[in-house]
Structures are given as structure tokens and as C-alpha cells.
Amino acid sequence: MDARALSRLLIKVYVGIFLVYMLAPLIVMGVAALNNSRFPSVYPWAGFTDRWFVDLWNDDRMLHAASNTVFIALAVVAISIPIGTAAAILINSVQGRFRSFLYGVMVAPILTPGAVIGISTLLFWNNFDVPAGLHLSTLGQCSFISAYVMLLVLARLQTFDPALEEAALDLGASNAQVMRRIMIPHLYPAIGAGALIAFFQSAENFNITLFTKGNSDTLTVYVGSKVRSGITPTINALALMLIALTVIGAITYEVLRRRAERHERELTEQKERDEVMATQPMTVRTASATASGS
């Protein structure tokens, strides 16, 4: 085997090992949810059980924490999408030094440790006598999640043809109509992706939530505290459910994506066929039209 093929093989082996490295611990963790052992483990195997799922279902505090998490996540999506979209449009409309400066300030929260964001949010709103709680966690999370939304929307905005805005204006649309019917629809993919990312980033956030939640429970912090105090495989049960959800989500996305790709390909092929037909002389066109019965 020559050097080139050998290196290709090596890198494929490496990729394989990496994927195993990424997924194996999750599998282990998930399988441990089914093991009838008080301490989460897969070895020694003490038999299949679903009691941890039952315990999970009965854990009221966990359910309450989960609903809080969802509540915050939805609020974060509702706030960060408009902010991020507006920020992307703003940045796209300015140039030069101001643009770079603005961009720097907007990206800063992503590069800031969650603890810092959490504590500073707590202190700032404390000035206005706003106590710690779910709403404070929402605001703290929005500070960096808006930046993610902004980046996604901005990238999509770069592919927008400004002539479309002008054409719409020219045809009589008001500014609001142009935004609503031309620009926002173009941004839907980015807004959709942004909403998804915002939701999940919010749900899994720990550091900011820890400092801002006050006495309320959220899923991540509750799990964190449970893990440190008294571990039972209920956590694994939760993990297994989340993993299963994620995998199902990933597979669905993949299937939809492949289907869209195929549809796109068919459309282009049809168009190419139409164009060839259009350049044929009249007689050929009518002949094939009658032949295909159209």
C-alpha cells in the first residue's frame, strides 16, 4: 500500500475512533438507566428494569424544574429572535469602523464566561430591586443567545439581493410590507435555525442560570445538584430520554434534508429539459407535445 492510501486509511480509522469516543460514553450512560443497580453503572449487570423511569416520573421537583426550563427557553426564544434579527439588520446597514466596533460588542457575550454573565446580570438588575428568579435567568441567557441569533441571521442576510427590496418598494409596497413580505421570508431559514439553537442553548445552560435563578429550579441546575448529593440512575433515565429525543430529531432532519435535496435536483433537471425544448424549432416542439399527449 502506498503512502497516500495508508494515510487515507489512518485518517479514516482516526475518524472512526473519534466517533466512538464521542458516542460511547452516551451509550454507556443511557444503558445504565436500564440496569437494576442503585449506583449508575453497566457492570455488574443486575438485570433490566424500568424503575428509574418510574422514579423519574414521580419526582415532582424534577418535573417542576423541567417545566421551568421549558418556560425559560420559550421566553428566551421569544426575546432573542427579534433582538438578534434587528441586530443583524442593523449591522448589515452600517459600514466601516462603527460596524467592526458594533460587531465586537455583539460577539463579546459569546466569548464571556457564563459565570461572569450570570453574576453581572444579577448585580445589574438588583440595582432596580429585581430579585433573582426565572425572569432574571431569561435575561442573562438572552445576552449571549441573541448574539448567536444575530450571527445566523447576518450570514443569511448576506445572500439577500437588495434589488428585491427596491423592486418591492417600486411596485408600491410600504416599508413595513417590504420587510414583512420580502425580507423576513428570506430570513426564515436563519430565524428557524436561530429559534432551535436558542431553545437548546437555553435549556442546557448551567453557568448563567446557576447565579440568576434564585430559589427556582431549572433542569440543569437540579440535575447538577442531585448528581453531587445523591446519585441514582434517574439521571440516566433522563439522559436516555434526551439522547433518544436528539437521535430521533437528527434522523428526522436527515431524512427531510435528503428528500429536499432530491426534489431540488429534479426541478433543475426539468428546467434544463424545458430550455432545450425552447430552442428547438416549432415543428419538433409540437410533435413531441402531441406525442406526450399534453
Binding site: M29, I119, F124
Partner: protein
Amino acid sequence: MRDILRRYGSTLTCFIVTLPAFWLLALVVLPYMILFEYSLKPMLPVDQLGGPNDVYGIGNYLTFFTSPIHIRIFFLTVFFSSVVTVICLVLSYPLAFFLAKVAKPHNVPTLFMILLIPLWVSEILRSFAWFVVLSFHGPLNALLGGIGVIADPVRWISGFNGVMIGLVYTYVLFMLFPIYNAIQALDSHQIEAAEDLGAPAWRIHWRVVIPHSKPGIASGCVMVFMLSAGSIIVPSLLASPGSRWFTEIVQQWMFEAQDWNTGSAYAFLLLVLCTVFVTLMMRLFKVRLADIAK
């Protein structure tokens, strides 16, 4: 400003400007400033606020600088976060290169999906997974003992090992994606041209691929370092006696001592650390802040 008004009309311009303004002022800039302000004031009981003792001073910072334990922990945090960053870089680079240049294009989205599953599952579950795997009676020891590599079970979570392993696993994907983006933008023909001219593989990487992917590498290093140094759950979950992390001290000040002033000083130190690191990376790799984006 006038261009924005012209392009969008007054109502929309209002939104486009005020939403980001609220975000950047109320959720980013002002909170950091308040954080700094708090850090310069001593902790006082409520009745003494605004009184003669409520003055600015660096007392809280002195608390840090006069505590050998805290200083030691700070430097260990920096050191091990840097080690984690380097390990992540070494692990991610080949995979990023593979995904960007070697793998067949229609396989890439699928591979991405698989890699994204651990990311969606959330930070806390990623660290918990390793907790299960590395536990004394856990599967790793069982596996290694079973195939005869070790005689007695190894206490994996000792010193900083557990923390490092956990951090690498939890944050390696944040190194992978920026580097992938950067390498992807490189024109494959450049690599082929270098091969054509007879350059060996390592040379091609050193002279062609790596220089081009510097923004991605810088971006990845910044993210991983920031996440590691600021990580709370991983070091606490995979802790062993003697592996205290700096964020743990911040927590102690904020929650156990309820001393928000000293806590904010320590948090500010963490912020300074990350800012210094970002600036260092920018100088080292000669990239601008605008390049550090997803």
C-alpha cells in the same frame, strides 16, 4: 443613519435601533460595568450602604492577591485549561481536515449530525457520562481489567485527570467546528497544487492548510479555553480532593459567604483572564475579532 431611515422608514428604523440598543446596553455593557463597580466596594450590611464605609477600593482584589491558596488555584486553572485547549486542538485538527477536504461531500452532513448529538445532549450530561464511565467500579475499569490490560481497577478520577478528561470531551466540538469552517474555505486546488509540486504531507499542512485555518484555530482555542476556565459543573462533578477549580471559589463567595462584592471581584478576574487570552490569541494568530465567529 440617514441611509437606514431611507431604506426602512421611521417605524422600522426605531425597532432596528432600539432592540439591539436594549440588548447591548441593558444586557451586556452596563452589567459588566456594574460588576466592576461592585468589585470595588466592600461588602456591607444593608444599613451601612451609602454611609461612610461605602467607598471605592481594591480591598476585594487584595483578598485574592493575599491568598496563596486562591492564587495557586487560579494558576492551576489557567494551566490545565491551556492543556485542555492544546489537547482539543490536536484531536480536532485531523478530523476537521477530514470533514472539510477528504470525506465525500454527501457524507459530510450525516457525519455532522452524528457529531452534533453529544452537543445537543447538553454539557451537564456530557460530563455526567464520563463520571459514569470513569467511576471506580465503572465500565472502563471493567473493560480494561477484562481484557487484561490492568490488574486492579484504577482510580481514574484523581488529581486533575478526571477534570481534564471531562473538559476535553465536553468542549472538543467547540474546537472542531471553527477549524472545519476555516479549512472548508480553503481552495482544494491549493492543496493539490502543493502536492503536485512534490511537497510531503506534513509540509502541506504546515505551510498551506494551517496558515489558512488560523482564524478557525484561534476561534476554537478561545472558545475552549473560555469554556474550560469558566466551567463549573465539570470540575465539580469530576472532582477529586485537591482538584479545586477557580470557579468553585467564585461560587463560594457568591453563595456560601453571600459576599457579592468579593465574588464579583473574583468574577472580574476571570473576565480579565479570558480577555487577556483572547487578545493573546489575536496577536499570536494575527486575526481580528471579526474573524472569530461561528
